[in-house]
Structures are given as C-alpha cells and as structure tokens.
Amino acid sequence: MTGSLLTPSLVGLCRSLTEILLGIVKALFDALSLPGVGSWFVSPGVVVFFTYLIACLVMVIWAMLINLLTMLWVERKLYSRIQDRYGIMLSFPWPWSKRYKRGITNMGWGFLQNVADGVKLLQKENMTPATADKLLFHAAPALLVSSTVMVFAVFPFSENFYYAKVSLGVLFILAALSIGPFSIILAGYSANNKYTLIGGLRAAAMMLSYEIPMILCVIAVVVLNGTLDPFEMVAIQERPLMGTILPSWNVFSPPQMLGFVIFFIAIVAELERIPFDIPEADAELVEGWTTEYSGMRFGFLYGFKWLRQFAASGLLVVLFLGGWNGPIIATPELLGYPIPILPQEFWLLIKIYVVAMIITWISWSIPRVRADQVLKIGWSRLIPLALLTILGAAVFKTMGWF
C-alpha cells in the first residue's frame, strides 16, 4: 500500500533518460570533432529543459492518450450494457488468432473504436461559418483544451508520479477548471447562430452557478485539513480512523459526507452530464454551443468533456476519498520488506474510474432537468447546504473531533 511504481519521481526518471539521450548526442558531436557544441548539450540548463520537456510529454500522453481513451471506452461500454446491448466492439485481433485470418474486426473489446472516431474526425473538413467571428471561433476550443490539460500539470497520480509539486495544487486545479464557462460563451457567440448563442449562455450560467457550491465544499475540506497541497491532503488521510484499520478518508467525517454529495452533484453539473444537460443535447438545440464546429475542433470540444470528467473525478478522489491510499492500513511484510498490495497509481485510477462509472450510471438513467429548475437547485438548495458544510467543518476542527 505504500509503494508506488515510479520509485524516484517522474522528473527524476526523465532526468536519467535525458542524460542518456544527451550523452548520445554529445558523443555524436564529439565524433564529428565539434566538442564545444557537444558540451553545450550536456550543460545543466539544457539538461533541465529537456528533462521537463520529456516529463511534460509523458504526462500529456498519459493523461490524454491513455486515460481519455480509457475513460471514453468505459463510458460507452457501461451505458451500452445499461441499455441491454453489446456496445462498441471494434478491435484488432492478435496476428496469431484465427479471427485475424478471417479478418473479423467487430467482435472484440472495442477499445479501438474511440481511436477510429478520432481519426474520422481528423480527416473531416474544418468548416468555419462565413459570418463567424474568426478569431474567437478558433480561440474558444484552444482555450478549453489548454485549460483542461493544465490540470494535469499539478495533479499527482501517486507520491512519485507528478509533474510539479505545487503547494497550492487544489487551487490551481480549481482555477484551471474555471476557465471553462468563458470559452463556452465565446464558442456559442462566435458561431453567429441564435441557437448556439442561447446554448452558450445557458451553459455558462449553469457552470458559473455550480462552481460556487463546488468551491465552498473545497473550502470545507481545506478548513478541516488545513492545507491546499494535494500531497499533504492525501498524507493526512492516510492515518488510521480512530483506532480502526480504515484510513481516515475525508468522506468519513460527518460534515464531509454532506460535502461529498454536494461536490458530486456540483461536478456532474460542471461537466454538463445528463441530469444537467440542458446546454448541450437539448432536443431544441441539436448540439448546443458546439453545433457549428466540425472536424477535430468538434472532437476536442466533445472528447475533452471526458478529460474534464477525469480531472474532476480525480479532484473528488484526492479531496474526499483518500487519493492513492488503499482501503486498509496494513502493509504485509516479507523478510522485512513492505510489499504493497497494489501500487499507489492503481488505487487512484481504480477510485477515479469507479467515480466516473457512477457518474455515467446516473447520467444514463435520469431525465434531463429543465434550465430554470437547474439554476433553482444550484442557488437555493446547494449553496445553503455547502455553507452548512463549512460551518460543520469549522466546528469539528475547533472541537478537535476527527
């Protein structure tokens, strides 16, 4: 339970990798009898630059390529099974299997379907409406995508798998997720279409009004734990819970149980999932604020909803569910060496995917709530409860319980 897969940190591993690579480059230049250039390549500044560049690439590939595809696959398979059908089944059979010889590609796991969809979107025409505001039309997807990927700069996947150890990590993630509403309004307005404008305004209104309970719940957790650092927060949640072998996850304390539920609902609204789907797949608005986008721009706007789901679920897990801790505080030992039951990254990913599956489950079982009812729920029900949570957390902290 205490081990993580990357034993020195991600940055440390990348540093070793860059030193090897730049050593090869230096040897190449030495062979070409340009020793000055070669030694520049291994100077500290260049090594540091390339270290962080490679670490950034690894993090982006991990977050976008691997986790986004997996999240999409989990969602599509899960809701297909809820609807009593098989779901996506495109796959590539192993070259030694009988299916490969028969060329069957549609009876398998289905993981490749999302890759296929991405490639299809890449080769479509990127149309811009003639009367659209070109600067804003092109800038809006860029803003949304970049603000979502920024979350993974500070999000720790385990004790050692992180890109940057920022002591204000939780605040950074909240700030990155708060750029969403602005880019949505820009996207809705710039397409010069009445429907997308209405959709964009509604989406931004909903997301702004649900950011407030979200941030209030985070405040409650921060009051209880006293830190904004995700590493310290997970370390605090690793202590035993009042003498039992359960770890003291934040969700086990009474005010935080309410906060957990409120944060969960606020996340579902932030991500525009189906109970709060009014801006998007409203039957009136076709695709809502993304209607006029085509090609990979639409792919970004649509697919990054699931990356935001991953980021928001990750925030929920780090704040309330103990991050990368396993559920039991017990480390089995073999010959004096602690053996982790599962590495820390796996615990975090399992928890994130369970939360994402619950969001999907709720999404595909409940009708859509109307726009004015959504705002009524957000302002008149969630905010007072979130304030109550803060009060409860403050009381618990001063009395020293939990």
Binding site: Q83, I278, A283, W364, P367, V369, A371, D372
Partner: protein, 359 residues
C-alpha cells in the same frame, strides 16, 4: 430581451416527423406558437379516387406509419358500411386482436420517443426492445412488421397459426412485468415529475372545444372512449375499462397511455379466448354506391373516414379526419407561458405522427 420567432423544424431532431413549429419567445418564455404543416402531404385522398376499394388499403396503411392497422381498419369499416356487408365473427375477433397489438406497439413507440425527448435515453432502447416483441407478433399474423397490409374490405387477409395464442401469452406475460418496471421508472423519478407535472395544461372544456380526442382527452378527465361509447367490432363483448386521469397535464397523459397498454393486453388475451372458429374473410362486392362514414378509436384519438361511391369500383371521394390535426389547434394555448424547454415535453405528450396530419 426582444421577442422573436424561432423555427423548430422542419429539420429538427425533436419533431417526430416532418413539420415546422414556429414559437415566439420572449427570453425563455413562450408567447405564441404556430404549427406549419404540409411537408409530408402525399395526396392520399386524391390517389384513392383512382384505385379500387381493396387497393386503397396500401395507402391507408401508410397514413400513420406507426399505427397502421388502426387506420386501414377505419377505412375498411367505412367501406363495409357503404357496401352494406357483414363480416364473419372470427374476422371481427382477429381484427380486434391485431388492433390492440398495434395499439401497444404505437404506445411503445410514443414511450421511446418521449423518453428520448425528456433526456431519459435509456427508455428509448428499452421501449423499442419491447416493441420488437409486438412487431414479431404482427409479423406472425400478417407477414410484415410495419405497414402490415393485414386488413381487407370483408375481413382480414389470413388466419393466424395454431400456436398464436401461446406466443401472445408469452409475450404479454413478459411485457406486463416490464410495464410495471417502466411505470415505476416514470412515477418514482423526481426529475420526470418535475418536468411533466403542471406542464401543458388543457382543461376539459378547452379540450372538448378544440376537438381533442383520444388519450389527450382522457388525460383531461373526460371519459370518452369510442370503443365504449360507439362500440364497433366486438368491443362490447370483451371486458375492459377505459383509462381516465383527472389532472390535465403531461403527466396525466403519460399515465393514461401506460394504463391503456395494460388494458390492451387484457383485451388481446380475452379476445383470443373468445374467438370462434370460422372464416376470416368474405368476398365483398366490386362496386358500391352511396356514402358512409365511420369513426373509430385510433391510438391517438378519433379517426373518421367518409367514403362516397358512385357505382364504380373505385371510391368517388375519401375524406379522412385525423385526431392530431385537431389537437394541433390546441397546442398554442397549451404552450403559452411555459419555457422553451417545455416545448419538447408538451409535443411529446401529444404523440404526434405527421403522416396522419398531412395525409
């Protein structure tokens, strides 16, 4: 914010069929509405003047493609009254069975579309899954699933196989359990109640004044079901009850249709038990003279057919009255004062099939 007209349709994922609804919005509130029809007009009434009586069945099947047997049945009843013939008992029972199975299939299609409109996308797939079972039953009876061409002037096209009663029993037992599930899903879902209660109110007097019939009228508290008030075929020999609800909103109309599905199951099983042996069809005369009209309870309301013959083997004039055509007149009144997102709820609860509106 200004008041401006918004076009919903003709190309729109919400509209069940090809028509245009213009609504005048003031911010989020609807001030006025205007339906524009005619995109699906195929000239059924005119074409039937050049086809023989039996051959018009092909056209009347496709009037409302979701509930086709009921429309052909209305036409056959009118022509049989015109010709003055009496069809065998077994044919009447077979007609009733096929009508009720078609009614269940039509209401399931409504349920699927309504779920998808409200946002409960899983209901779309569940309801269509159950509809497949009933389409299989229609296929056993008639050979086709959708526009089944089963009715004939003088009876039905063919008799059912011997194990048809067992198939029906199996399907209906399975379906009753699922129907309980779906009714539960609708009644216990707070979001569904929030969306549909107190939305789209149509009081009893307004409904009668506008000429609304069928489940929409019964959802407003008026106990008028043509199978009870003007019984045709053998509806007076089978025990069943019409479904009536008091509140006049979308929720009441939904519950009426769910209950009607249950009653249709009872009618099918009862009719299968009471069916006498005999011929399933008789040969009608070729020519007819005079005029006749018959009114029947279609899945969506009162369907009226007026057929006039002038001694030829083709009708001289066929006039069709569609229930939803009259209901659309009441739609602007139902929508005033509600929000734009309620348009979908209200239009879904009326159960529009544009084929019968535009003919």
């Amino acid at each position: 914010m200004a008041e401006f007209w918004v076009n919903m349709g003709p190309q729109h994922p919400m509209t069940h069929g090809l028509w245009n609804l213009r609504i005048k919005v003031d911010g989020e509130t609807i001030v006025d509405a205007e339906p524009i029809l005619g995109y699906l007009h195929r000239g059924v009434e005119k074409i039937s003047e050049v086809r023989e009586f039996q051959k018009v069945i092909v056209l009347t099947d496709r009037l409302c493609y979701v509930s086709s047997i009921t429309w052909s049945h209305a036409y056959c009843l009118a022509v049989e009254e015109l010709m003055g013939i009496e069809i065998p008992e077994r044919a009447k029972y077979l007609r009733v069975i096929s009508l009720e199975i078609q009614r269940i299939a039509s209401h399931l299609m409504w349920l699927a579309a309504y779920g998808a409109d409200i946002g409960l996308l899983t209901m779309l797939l569940y309801a269509l899954r159950e509809r497949e079972l009933f389409l299989d039953l229609i296929e056993i009876m008639a050979g086709l699933r959708l526009n089944s061409n089963y009715m004939r002037v003088g009876g039905v096209r063919n008799d059912v196989p011997a194990d048809f009663e067992k198939s029906c029993q199996k399907v209906i037992t399975h379906f009753r359990k699922k129907l309980d599930d779906y009714q539960d899903m609708m009644e216990n879902s707070k979001t569904f109640l929030m969306r549909t209660q107190d939305v789209g109110k149509l009081s009893k007097e307004d409904a009668i004044n506008w000429g609304v019939t069928g489940p929409n009228l019964r959802g407003s508290g008026s106990n008028v079901d043509l199978r009870r008030t003007i019984p045709y075929e053998v509806y007076d020999q089978i025990s069943w009850e019409p479904a009536v609800e008091k509140e006049c909103d979308c929720y009441a109309r939904s519950i009426v249709r769910m209950r009607e599905m249950r009653e249709s199951c009872n009618i099918v099983l009862d009719a299968l038990k009471k069916m006498p042996p005999g011929m399933c069809r008789m040969k009608p005369p070729r020519r007819a003279e005079g005029e006749a009209f018959r009114v029947t309870e279609d899945s969506r309301g009162e369907a009226l057919f007026y057929v006039a013959g002038d001694g030829d083997d083709r009708p001289y004039r066929v006039k069709i009255r569609s229930p939803i055509f009259c209901t659309l007149g009441a739609v602007p009144q139902m929508m005033r004062g509600h929000k734009v997102a309620d348009v979908v709820t209200i239009m879904g609860s009326i159960d529009i099939c544009v084929g019968e509106i535009d003919k």
